[in-house]
Amino acid sequence: MIQPVLQVQNLHTCFFTDRGEVPAVDGVSLMVNPGEVLGIVGESGCGKSVTSLSVLKLIPEPPGKITGGSILFKGRDLVPLKEREMRSIRGDSISMIFQEPMTSLNPLFTVGDQIGEAVRLHRGLRRKEARRHTVEMLRKVGIPRPEAVLDEYPHQLSGGMRQRVMIAMAISCNPELLIADEPTTALDVTIQAQILDLIRRLNEENGTAVMLITHDLGVVAEMCHRVVVMYAGKVVEEGAVCDIFKNPLHPYTQGLIQSVPRMNEQRSRLFSIPGNVPVLYADMKGCRFADRCPSAMSLCLERLPELREYGAAHSCRCWIHETQEDAV
């Protein structure tokens, strides 16, 4: 069996606020295999970003804290690592692309300086070598006239270009895992396609495993091999992309798929799941989706279902299927 690049087991990340403990990530387990693109989907506030930040241990502490579970990167648990050891992993073997290219680059340093910083730190390159390497990276992410862009500041670049710079920065040390947190959300649709193309190319050419966080199912269908659907800090469904789209088991996943607007159907209104992601607190009872679920039963309000496997590598956390199975 191949060793996964990343294996998150029963991860708990909490935020300790004035109004009590918020379990933003509540017992999440997932894994990313070498060369795989794993999608994590869900609405805003589902704990997708907190999961990804937890992997790099970038949760602001306080108020946040990883309270349990393990994060195995190539078999080595990152949770007990000291800050110093974590720093040697960040930006080197695991790197991250963020949502907002407008604000994620430091406005006061040149592009070259910001990209070169990582290789100089992790690879010990000198200024000149780092510069050459940076030009190469910029070329790789498809930036025209890289030698000139090197000395420009982020405000002189467009959103798409900035996101390319972010990607160049993230791949400059040739990471084994790339975490992309909604990399296309803030971009124009045409630019989105280009950026996704770029990420896929990096995945295919370098074999970089990618953890892609998004709320856009279109992106998932396009990019991912497997998907993890998250709701309110928990994994509710997990499986291969084709299984999830063809045969979604969880009512939340079904709702998400139905919410995608379609060109070939005439509908007066777009479908939406009523309600919002609930505010989380420590001792919640029952299924978290129950109050928005069209097929909720009384059992759903009382007890939380387990994540169980239904078919090859396709699992779901829902009472409907458990009760059906029991009946059979």
């Binding site: 720093r87 790197s95 680059l105 006061l108 990582a118 730190l121 405000h155």
Partner: protein, 334 residues
């Protein structure tokens, strides 16, 4: 950058002209007869009239202004009524003394203020943060004269570590070249003198620098706190940079603009002369010079003093603006 500097220098011209007009008008608005002030109350009407004619006071105001501007451009600030010495010549040592004290006080204020602010923000809600902000609060509310007196009492009177006043040992004067004693003693190669000058400047600069230090610390802290929550700080951390580089390279530069503003304003205020500190520490600075001129109603000196202070502010604003541009490329390229 070049065009920015040029533009900024051009803006200075109307500001400086406006400044001279205001200062000129203020002096003209003061009631009383300058001729009588100069010659005394017992002077005859005839001699007063002769003096008015000689000084050009009978000319229309705009002609007087142009004469005044002409002299000013030649570097002539007029003559002190009290000492009969040209002001331009007389004011220089005082200006140098104030500049030196301001420099030392701001060095103290910036070094401790900025670092305390950074560490407070970095370790927000820690003991260090609480203590720093308490000290800053005390610093802002401390009366300078009291602090100065306490310093003298402890460090001069009780411990005999440092002299209680003056710029230099009277028996071993520094050979004046620039009138900046720290520089002059070095130029003369007299390191023993340099050390004595340093000892003289320590207490007054702490007294003078405490309030600016407290203000700078508070400003740095709040500015840093805002920046530390930015997305690009998270990016910097995700690159694996050490906390020190994240704070002192990525965050500090972004937090610098409001801090620079405060530093500029405080420096301007100190350069205007700190009458209290200069009096307590017998520091022969501009503050005391103007204060004495006011008590003698020495109008030309007062006028020159106001002009100098205004000029210093204009120059400091220029320097601060240029520093903004040096720090932030978005200002440079606008």
């Amino acid at each position: 950058m070049k065009s920015y500097v040029l533009k900024r220098l051009l803006i200075m011209v109307p500001v400086l002209i406006g400044m001279t007009i205001i200062v000129f008008s203020i002096i003209h608005a003061i009631p009383g007869d300058p001729a009588e002030t100069i010659l005394g109350q017992k002077a005859t009407e005839q001699s007063k009239e002769a003096l008015r004619e000689q000084l050009g006071l009978n000319n229309p105001w705009y002609q007087q202004y142009f004469t005044y501007m002409g002299e000013l451009l030649k570097g002539d600030l007029g003559q002190s009524i009290r000492t009969k010495v040209p002001i331009a010549q007389e004011i220089l040592p005082y200006l140098a003394a104030t500049a030196e004290l301001t420099f030392a006080a701001m060095l103290f204020a910036v070094f401790f203020g900025v670092n305390a602010g950074i560490i407070s923000a970095w370790r927000q809600n820690s003991w260090f943060d609480y203590i720093c902000m308490l000290v800053a609060l005390i610093g802002v509310s401390m009366p300078i004269f009291w602090l100065g007196l306490m310093e003298q009492w402890v460090f001069s009177l009780k411990l005999h570590w440092l002299p209680s006043g003056g710029r230099m040992n009277q028996r071993d004067p520094v050979e004046a070249i620039t009138n900046l004693y720290l520089l002059d003693s070095m130029l003369a190669g007299r390191f023993d003198q340099f050390w004595t000058v340093v000892k003289h400047i320590v207490l007054p600069s702490i007294a003078l620098g405490t309030i600016p230090m407290a203000i700078i610390a508070r400003m740095t802290r709040s500015s840093m706190l805002e920046v530390m929550n930015s997305d690009f700080i998270r990016t910097a951390k995700a690159k694996g940079l050490s906390q020190f580089i994240v704070v002192y390279k990525h965050a500090l530069k972004n937090a610098a603009i409001p801090v620079l503003t405060v530093i500029g304003l405080q420096t301007g205020a100190l350069l205007g002369g700190a009458v209290l500190t200069e009096t307590i520490f017998a520091w022969p600075g501009v503050g005391r010079y103007i204060y004495e001129a006011i008590s003698f109603r020495d109008y030309p000196v007062i006028q020159s003093g106001i002009l100098m202070i205004a000029f210093v502010f204009v120059v400091i604003n220029l320097v601060v603006d240029l520093l903004y541009a040096a720090v932030d490329p978005r200002i440079r390229y606008r």
